[in-house]
Amino acid sequence: MEWMDFFWAFVIGGAICVVGQLLISLTRLTPARILVLFVTVGVVLTALGLYEPLVELAGAGATVPLTGFGYALGKGAMEGAMEKGILGAFTGGITATAGGVAAAILFGYLNAVIFTPKTKK
């Protein structure tokens, strides 16, 4: 049921963002702290086995928010550890997220070279 996938992606993804919004509005955490918090919480929830069910239910709704980045890191590290032991614990997380990080560096650099920031009205 593809349409249900989109429904859950919307609902869960939106709900995770609402948690972030509540933190910003009520505790005045800066976006930088929110991002750090979310990625770390994602790793921890994954380690506790609590995030996997959310990914199965919501797909991109759980992987696109930054907690999903944490999920990919945590899952990668755990799988690495199971397969290759201590070395895998070190390499697993970065291996699993290499695509996103490399893309961020490349596209980040290219955009910076091409575009110039504009004043806000």
Partner: protein, 342 residues
Amino acid sequence: MQKRLGKQTVVFEAPPRIAAGGTIVGDVEGEGPLGSYFDLVLQDDTWGEESWEKAERKMFEHAVRRALARCAMQPPQIDLLLGGDLLNQIITANFAARELSIPFLGLYGACSTMAESLLLGSMLIDGGYAERVACAATSHFCTAERQYRFPLEMGGQTTPTAQRTVTGAGASLLVAPGYAGNAQFEHIFATGGTIGRVVDLGITDASNMGAAMAPAAADTLAAHLREKECSVTDYDVIVTGDLGRFGSEMFAELCRDKGIDLANRHQDCGNMIFSPAQKVDCGGSGCGCSAVTLNAYLLKRMEQGDFTRMLFMATGALMSPTAGMQGDSIPGIAHAVVLERR
């Protein structure tokens, strides 16, 4: 004559005159309620330069030259330049002073710089150490954002207490009372002032600068009234620099606590320069805010005779990203200058 009253307040024996003002602002300020008063409104806030920092120093230099031109003067005829801005090492003022090559004393008083420079300039003239002093201050939205806050293209929301840094440069030319040459203003004299103390009531929120500065403004006003033995009603208007809407509210509150009734005489440059319809949250801020509002608008109103006694009290939030990250609160300061129409 006693030139010093109490600890903080000074009066001038031979009050210096403000002979002219020069202002230049960015397009958002130009669209505001005071738009038509500014000498020059930039459509492009890089002003053809490679960076905003370079544009800001060009604005500083330009504002000084505008003020001088009104008196048909050239930089070599000026004894002293006093000024500052918000950037680290006050690079705007330093580099503009390099171009103007007027003897220069750089000031840092955050957004209180315009009042600080007028106060010091008047004291130097009254003391006989200078005849003609140019006073100037600038700020630029983009340079301030990147130094104090986030990159411009970063997505996020401002909080309702935030204020928008004014892109603008303002300069005043102070002359000794005997001056008889060309001038924009004939009647405006700086007759005294009060040097503020640094006051900090522990506000740590960098997007609530109005609340951080309000205690300093109230402290300086109270010291002024006490030492000069005058009252709020002796002034037609008491103008603060950039408390903004919320800061003004807290200022009134603090004054009430001190037994001072502002009697509807309080105005704030941060509230005047933008209209609430412009999305600027609590109003304007920055050195340029009070500098352009004074030189473009308030002095003209005063010259016309709309008010005869004004207490110009620019307020500064002496915040630093480093101190903020180390958990320090934001100290505030306010300096007051008495301007009279004679």
